[in-house]
Symmetry: C2
Subunit: 314 residues, 2 copies
């Protein structure tokens, strides 16, 4: 297919179009993704998360500029959590795109997939496949760390940054263990505001107390992204973590975890598709729903019955 | 089972324990939920969503107090999106619980389910089943409207409130059509701050321009929840919408939509469970993952193969 050739040649319009097909859950995507997949596995995937207002977009943009100076190509997927309420991200996306529009080495896209068939984590994984196949050296997944899908997505990156600020009243006492497993590098952004020292000390204590399964001890980097402060150090720490996972042979392990999550998502969706097309006709579904609503049945028993009927049928 | 009897008698500890079983994806939940389901269908489900900082928790608490004065019992499920970053919600939960602790007619619980088996929307639906079976008259689902799961959850309520404020720079121009379908009642909270009139006028224009499929025109209510202002009017508008869906015979339709979403979730999870227990042994899965990571296969083809193998097997 022409579109596949173009994606492999890093054609920005073909990449954008393919990601749109993914978002719209087009029937064409499966075959395109199959063709692209053998060309993947080379990109370094960086997750960036943190509470709203931590300055993630600016940090990612500045980091991208720095990476571009090192002659590396970048793909950015910004997951837009506020999309039902505002077009802010899409607007922001355009502004961000314009800033980099003269540079073919950088591709930025925001995603806000809705709907039941597919879901955000599947769509994001598929978009990573596209960017990876297009030869991007580094893929940054940027997300507000809210909502379970978003956290799962960041969890699948090679290296994950958690961005905090001293001004938001992020009481460190309340940060949960979950974030300690996710954060490979802590960033205290807007470090020139608020009580930076206190956050740093608290964070250090927490990192020391928490021993991670993989043995990595997350460094803390102070940045003021808007003033270009601390970004080189941050990039160094990111590369240090990358070195660490390479040395510890964790890259393959991480790739496997990511593939397993992706595979489980795909199996569920495909199984549902099969069931709906083979044994769960709209009429049969309607009968089940009528019974459930009338409390003559319940969704838990109905699901069991539907799967049993499917297995008899096939 | 003793726990079922206790839930049906609205025993708060039994309700809390059952919801914990759901969160932990315990093997016991399925049979408990089946027993509880016939006792459901009586509660009125109210969804409350809006961007962070809109004052949703306070609004919900005040609304709950008002509803309690009408001798109705309430269950509140607060979906905590910031949980990976802070224990704030759980802390807030305790404070909120204490405020109502002398009142057995109100049950508050925050949920922050993680993990792949189940997911937030399934867990929330199951928690609704428990509260509904316990005889709560009104169930409020409170969520920050970020993340796709959260929006889907609110979408399944009988009546959904969208809470905005004049101070947050919610440029109305950027509110998307999606929110117009969700919002049965618009609340402008913190109406004593910022440019209330402008937001109201903009919102009105938008509501007028947008014709909803169900014919309902969403009212706008100004509130200052913290000062108990506008809450009675809000409750009236909520009941008006409830009347509307009753009159238009939309209640059954809404129940069906909710049941369908729940059923699809359950079918997917159950199908995956079956596949894993029958034909996808850890060894076979490992082989697939090895091939995927080595780029000898891809997740899309592997998912197809796994389902084909399952169908042969069963």
């Amino acid at each position: 297919m022409e579109i596949i050739e173009k994606v492999l040649k890093a054609d920005a319009r073909a990449i954008a179009k393919t990601i749109s097909l993914i978002e719209n859950n087009s029937s064409r995507t499966q075959s395109i993704l199959k063709e692209l997949y053998p060309h993947t596995g080379n990109a370094f995937i960086l997750g960036v998360t943190g509470p709203p207002g931590a300055g993630k977009s600016t940090l990612v943009d500045k980091l991208a500029e720095l990476i571009r100076k090192q002659e590396k190509t970048i793909g950015i997927i910004a997951i837009d959590p506020t999309s039902p309420f505002s077009g802010g991200a899409i607007l922001g996306d355009r502004i961000r795109m314009q800033r980099h529009s003269t540079d073919p080495g950088i591709f930025i896209r925001s995603m806000a997939t809705r709907g039941h068939l597919g879901g955000l984590s599947r769509a994001t994984n598929d978009a990573i496949t596209v960017l990876d196949a297009s030869g991007k050296d580094i893929i940054i997944i940027e997300t507000v760390g809210v909502g379970q899908d978003e956290v799962e997505i960041v969890n699948t990156a090679h290296t994950s940054i958690v961005v905090l600020t001293p001004i938001m009243g992020d009481d460190i006492q309340t940060i949960k263990a979950g974030i300690m497993e996710i954060a490979d590098v802590f960033v205290i952004n807007k470090a020139d505001k608020g009580d930076y020292r206190r956050l740093e000390v608290d964070l250090k204590n927490m990192i020391e107390q928490f021993s991670r399964e993989d043995g990595w001890e997350a460094p803390i980097v102070a940045t003021v992204a808007i003033k270009d402060t601390g970004l080189e150090e941050l990039l160094q720490k990111i590369y240090s973590h990358r070195e660490y996972i390479l040395k510890q042979d964790l890259l393959k392990y991480k790739a496997k975890i990511r593939s397993q999550m992706q595979l489980m998502d795909l199996i569920k969706e495909l199984a549902l598709q099969k069931i709906c097309s083979i044994s769960l006709s709209p009429e049969v579904l309607e009968q089940h729903l009528e019974k459930i609503v009338a409390r003559e049945s319940d969704p838990y028993s109905a699901a069991e019955d539907i799967i049993a009927a499917f297995l008899k049928h096939s």
